[in-house]
Symmetry: C2
Subunit: 144 residues, 2 copies
């Protein structure tokens, strides 16, 4: 994930290439799980002094442009995850190590048919969130 990639990405999104934006992208690219804005902030190299509002602003821009996925958890905080996979997909989150993995299977067609048949309605959008144990954590849990 070379740095020039991030510059390209920013240019494609019509955002100016600034040290803060690069720092946020770099920090997020290192992560395998959803992070809160404050967590992202703490992961940004301390050398790059930046305010928390700036982190929020940058994350918002990236979420708006689609390369960052934003979820709200039960603690009412927003969590962010950099996802460069452009194809439609869903996420599986390990409840133990928090790692995020892509699920390419999408059952929208089945759901659309169900909505059409039973409710006589039209499915427009869907959110599917999957939780469980990843290949690394599942065996360990069994031992407990």
């Amino acid at each position: 994930m070379a740095e020039y990639r991030f510059e390209e990405i920013l240019r494609r999104l019509k955002l100016k290439v600034t040290p803060r934006r690069l720092a946020v992208l770099e920090a997020m690219a290192r992560e395998t799980s959803f992070l809160s804005a404050e967590q992202v902030w703490s992961k940004v190299s301390p050398a790059r002094k930046m305010g928390l509002p700036t982190v929020y602003r940058i994350l918002d821009e990236l979420a708006l442009s689609g390369i960052v996925t934003q979820v709200i958890r039960d603690d009412r905080q927003l969590y962010y995850f950099l996802c460069l996979n452009e194809k439609h997909h869903h996420h599986f989150v390990c409840t133990s190590c928090k790692k995020v993995e892509d699920i390419d299977l999408c059952l929208a067609d089945e759901l659309r048919a169900e909505v059409a048949q039973r409710l006589k309605g039209t499915l427009v959008s869907h959110i599917i969130q999957l939780q469980g144990l990843c290949s690394h954590c599942a065996p360990q849990e069994q031992q407990k």
Copy 2:
């Protein structure tokens, strides 16, 4: 949805039967869509003076006990919906009139298989949220 039903429900949940709790249940039973705490508050008969914190407390209890479904929307507010359907199911929300309808189809088995095969992981829980147009609103949208 006679009142004694609500008393029964409260007793089953080991909650004291109070006018406030009955008022919240009555108000929610009249609704067909998710409401914020403040909206629930405004729907409660004004005669039953009650504070907003009380509404939050009651909704929390009901959500905890499972007869109220709680979702967080993009505006970061909590929304509540009374759902007495005890069988596992998902919800379809009409983006136009906001009506909530139950979807009995659950694709957890397919998703579980996908998680097992591709990720070698174990699916534990899933959230499926469906949005679209209900049978009443879909035809109207087509005209536009």
